[in-house]
Amino acid sequence: MSATANRDDRLATANLGVAVAAFGVAAFMAFMQALSRANLELPGRSAGMYYLSVTAHGVLMAIVFTTFFIMGLGVAFTNAGLERRLRYPRTAWAAFWIATLGTVMATWAIVTGKATVLYTFYPPLQAHPAFYIGLTLVVVGSWVWSFVILSTWTAWRNEHPGQATPLEVYGMLAAIIVWLVATIGVAAEMLFQLIPWSLGITETVDPMLARTLFWYFGHPLVYFWLLPAYVVWYMVIPRLAGGKLFSAQLGRVVFAMFIVLSTPVGFHHQYMDPAVPSGWKMLHTFLTFIILFPSFVTAFTITASLEVAGRARGARGLFDWIGKLPWGDPTVSSVLLAMILFAVGGFGGAVNASFATDSVVHNTAWIQGHFHLTVGTAVALTFMGTAYWLVPRLTGRELELGLLAKVQPYLWFLGMLLFSIANHITGLMGMPRRVFDATYQGSAIAERWQSLTAISAAGGVLLFISSTFFLLVMLGTVLAGKKTASREIQFSETLQPEPASSSIFDRLGVWAAIAVVLVLIAYAYPIYSHLSMPTFGSPGYKPY
């Protein structure tokens, strides 16, 4: 039997294809933004274009690129991990098309200037209904995809009673549960608030309720991005680096903790908001620090696995295993560099999570410096590296333009270093984020930011070159890659023996139930008391 008989490779490839296309468009917009921010006179540069472009970049990167990539990865890893086709391939195709239709609708609304509300779409800024409906369809598509993956897993479980779920699938299932719990918030915001309001069915919305629902969704969203990247770190990289995973069971602990703790932390995005009680913000602060734990454990497990790989390649001393790792393999180097920048991002995250220090950096350029390290590198660079390894196996074509692929992660790393450091510093100096032009009518205070915005722009140029390399490699591979028969998708072996049978970790329903209880504790009362307080709604505004 061929390697691909049990697989839905065309579906996985289609999802990755939309992801890469969205990435390409968004990277181009980002390039223009970074230059614009440094006040370079580009043709057609205007405030309206800038904010339109930031909206497109945010939506296409943070929502479209990530969601489609994860859907593609989920299909491929479910196939390969369970050695089984999807249970409902046609339904999974429907999911793809629903999400694609939603993407087209939202993108249309953005590029025609009808939805310059940024990817956070805080009301009472109001967009065209197609924007909200389009994004809702993306989420609906992802729900249908989630259903297909979950039911494929339950079918597998019935066929393999008592067997432990392989970690590469376990991690994807954890991401799916986090996503299902999280999207309740944004779905409620869309269906009860924004869609009826943008259609003129209701006259006003409550902006605070919308913020709370958005951030109920917005924080766990980051774990929906991160967990699939962790799956690659755990189950792909040790093997490619020539070693073994230190312990898969520890990975299960990590993913189960994320299921439980991802959602009840959203108020840490609302420290500076009125109308959210201080005590509830405090509770979310505590939970935010607890959720650092699984990431600490991941840092240990992956580092230990890499050390195992380095020693297997002949390292003897304390640290020379680092040099022995295959830094020339674009998948491995992408992940290693992503991990380094993620560690830096983690320190910044601790600053954001502490409300006293957050008051200095809230909504400044620091924030954009921060999340370009986390989602913009830890996740996005991991995904690009994953594509170098996965796309040849899905399409049966060898990676083309391998030299560009080798250079690309390093360019990204350098570009992001410049971009991110500059933005962290200007943020500390008080420069706000999301501004077309940060000169403030020649203010002497704003003058001090200007040389740093130029460094950020230089980083943007490197990032754009890196993005172009990635796109060329992808296009070259799909269009001109040599046919290859080596299409096996193999995962890491583990150093500690895998448990022979399923354990409490495989009872995902239990973990999901604990998650729901914690969410109720963290949110039910604050939302209830907000709803029972007399509030005033706002009509829509379109000042763009």
Partner: protein, 161 residues
């Protein structure tokens, strides 16, 4: 969990990570209880379509409050703050009260930790002390439309006479 075989390294690391987090939490808890360091918050509503007639915001500006504190009310709107210039004394508690007459805005005094969201329908409030006399730039730090980057005002902190 009987099937779990965690090596000695793993266990040491998990303990270290756990202790670190407990330390963080203890620090936060201590600061909250002993120093009253809690997340800022203020719960008060206002009709965003009637802010210009509301006595709280009809005359935004600086007034003297009880207990020697200075009270500043400021109104955010696309794309300006009212008043455009605020004068307060140094080394005295200054309480800010803010709201928006249209979309969401931010209010950030550059170079300080004075920073709050300004949300239509709600009043934001916080108190701070300016130690350094001089001119400060106030910027809107939440996207509010095509003139977002133009939305700013001035704070002048005057040395106590």
């Amino acid at each position: 969990m009987t099937t779990m075989r965690v090596g000695i390294y793993e266990r040491a690391w998990m303990w270290a990570a756990g202790v670190l987090i407990v330390l963080f939490l203890a620090m936060l808890g201590y600061a909250a209880v002993a120093q009253g360091l809690r997340p800022p918050s203020h719960i008060e509503t206002i009709d965003p379509r009637a802010v210009f007639d509301d006595p709280r915001f009809a005359n935004p500006g600086v007034t003297a409050g009880p207990d020697g504190r200075v009270i500043v009310t400021s109104l955010a709107m696309t794309f300006a703050f009212q008043p455009a210039e605020i004068r307060v004394p140094a080394n005295r508690p200054v309480s800010f009260g803010l709201t928006s007459s249209d979309v969401q805005h931010g209010f950030q005094i550059v170079g300080t930790n004075a920073n709050t969201m300004v949300i239509p329908g709600y009043v934001s409030e916080f108190t701070t002390v300016f130690k350094r006399a001089g001119e400060y730039l106030i910027v809107c730090n939440e996207y509010c439309g095509v003139g977002h980057h133009l939305m700013s005002s001035k704070l002048i902190v005057e040395a106590a006479p």
